[in-house]
């Protein structure tokens, strides 16, 4: 009898399985590719000539040192890595722009999505810069009036991403309404023109920052965003990056 009821239990389990909707008949899993899996050396042999051509040795040479690991989303509306992108752009490009035009950069605006990697704690190399910024985008300076700058602020408030900015200080209330906006410690003057450093990608409509196309005058700086990073690393012995108050929720 006991055996019989056991058999019944089994049969019921069996039918429970068989009569379930046939639509969810699959097994699925996502398998981590890690050092527990043996390497296929034929693949390594295939890419080795390419690797040598990359002059990997040179690319991996340390040009700076990072105190910690930094990411593009380690703050809510500004990030350690994004702030570095914006600050490095200002530091390296402003002297060139001044030389060229006699004017100064008021605002830097880049995009969070353009930061493609992290900076790991430890040595920083050219390869780090390639991973952070693989794109061939270059810096451009656009001249925007206060009205267009206000559109920029509206955009930043709407998308609520830690886009790299410098020169603006935006404070939001808990309900995301705007508490205050300052441009280099002053209110935005609609009758004034401002110089904004950005990339050709964003000027061409990337990330839908269409207000940049309202530029009254565009200065092309022949400097790739990646080279800004490389040169910033070279002149910075140790990277100590942090989030701050440039764009926050109160």
């Amino acid at each position: 009898m006991r055996i019989f009821s056991f058999y019944l239990l089994f049969i019921s389990l069996l039918f429970q399985g068989c009569f379930e909707t046939n639509n969810n008949s699959f097994d699925g899993k996502n398998i981590s590719i890690n050092s527990e899996i043996k390497v296929d050396s034929s693949i390594i042999n295939f890419y080795l000539p390419y690797k040598s051509k990359l002059q990997d040795g040179l690319m991996n040479k340390p040009i700076s040192y990072s105190l910690k690991t930094y990411k593009k989303n380690d703050g809510i509306l500004n990030s350690s890595l994004g702030n570095m992108f914006a600050d490095a752009t200002y530091d390296l490009i402003n002297p060139i722009f001044k030389d060229k035009t006699g004017n100064s950069i008021d605002v830097v605006l880049l995009n969070n999505g353009g930061i493609r990697s992290i900076i790991s704690q430890g040595p920083v190399s050219e390869k780090t810069a390639f991973e952070l910024m693989p794109f061939e985008n270059s810096i451009v300076i656009v001249k925007l009036d206060g009205n267009s700058i206000k559109k920029m602020v509206d955009y930043l408030v709407k998308v609520r991403l830690p886009h790299p900015i410098k020169g603006l200080e935006i404070i939001l209330n808990k309900d995301y309404s705007v508490e205050s906006v300052l441009l280099n410690n002053n209110p935005i003057d609609e009758n004034k023109n401002y110089f904004v450093a950005t990339t050709d990608y964003l000027l061409d409509g990337g990330d839908k920052m269409y207000f940049l196309a309202e530029s009254k005058e565009t200065t092309i700086i022949d400097y790739k965003m990646r080279d800004v990073l490389i040169d910033y690393f070279i002149k910075t012995d140790t990277l100590k990056l942090k989030t701050d108050n440039r764009f926050i929720i109160n």
């Binding site: 046939n22 996502n30 296929d40």
Partner: protein, 303 residues
């Protein structure tokens, strides 16, 4: 082996051993298994991350993916391997070799098909066109109209793969390029409504081509929380009628396992996405009975 004896042997045998039961169907032991493997957003990550990397030390790399794919294929020859786009851009390998190495390695791993991601236009539509001869796999994309571009005739709307007598219809969907890619790069490529196109294609795959399984390779992105109405895999799944599986990309979403939603008709649609950079390989096994109908597998019997 007669059925009753088979059940008795397998089930009681396993119970006696105290182990779980795998691989036996309710009806017969001859269920056909189709394995779908997939990656997305590998972004030129040829090598594994270095051991010093803070987030992904020693993870990823074509050399390990190759071993994994080969062992799964050895286990089940009825396996297909797909990628959901953004193959290009992310390491110096792309800056220096323009995607040649990515396509050659994917051909060595015997990828069957890919769809096109926004970053696959990073060297322009011509840059993609120039690398295509190095790929032995199909480029499936049904909502980009490439008329008047160099890619005209180089991609397909869909393809049907026949494995074990099972007809597997596969098509691809790409994301809207405006605002994401500079126009100069994608040139005259026209973006068509992915939801509408996917209905047309899946109807065709189901009723004209009589496919037993319909798979969509999508670079639309899984879901946009700030923009709930935006076209994405989540919304595509809910508005679809015949898609069985959406293999996603673009949003770099790391899913622990595939998720299952209900389509317009109340049937299941699976969505899976494996983050980015070749850190994971997605695996989905489908089971079919001798009439090529999707069938329940005995994993419910795990005791």
């Amino acid at each position: 082996m007669d059925r009753r004896k088979f059940l008795k042997n397998s089930v009681f045998g396993s119970l006696a051993l105290g182990s779980t039961i795998h691989n036996y169907s309710c009806e017969t032991s001859d269920l056909k298994k189709i394995t779908i493997l997939h990656t997305n957003d590998v972004h030129s990550h040829i090598e594994p991350f270095s051991s010093e990397h803070s987030e992904f030390p020693n993870q990823g790399g074509f050399e390990r993916r190759s071993t994994l794919v080969n062992s799964i294929r050895n286990n089940n020859p009825n396996t297909l391997l797909f990628d959901a786009g953004d193959i290009f851009q992310g390491t110096p390998y792309f800056n220096f070799f323009n995607g040649e190495l990515e396509f050659k390695l994917m051909s060595l791993l015997k990828y069957d098909a890919v769809t096109i991601g926004n970053h696959d236009f990073d060297n322009g539509i011509t840059g993609l066109y120039e690398q295509m001869p190095k790929a032995s796999f199909d480029f499936l994309i049904s909502n980009y109209d490439f008329s008047n571009t160099v890619l005209e005739g180089k991609t397909r709307n869909y393809k049907i793969y026949n494995k074990f007598g099972i007809k597997i219809g596969v098509f691809g969907l790409g994301i809207e390029l405006e605002g994401l890619v500079t126009k100069e790069l994608y040139k005259e490529t026209k973006y068509l409504d992915p939801i509408e196109i996917s209905r047309d294609i899946s109807n065709r795959l189901k009723f004209e081509e009589n496919c037993d399984l319909i798979i969509c390779l999508s670079h639309l992105g899984y879901k946009y929380d700030n923009l709930p109405e935006r076209v994405c895999d989540y919304n595509l799944a809910k508005k679809s009628n015949h898609i069985d599986l959406i293999i996603g990309g673009h949003t770099h979403t790391f899913m622990d396992k595939p998720i299952v939603l209900k389509n317009e008709k109340g049937n299941d649609v699976i969505i899976n996405q494996v983050g980015c950079f070749g850190l994971y390989l997605g695996q989905i096994d489908f089971f079919f009975d001798r009439n090529n109908k999707r069938s329940f597998r005995s994993s419910v019997l795990k005791i």
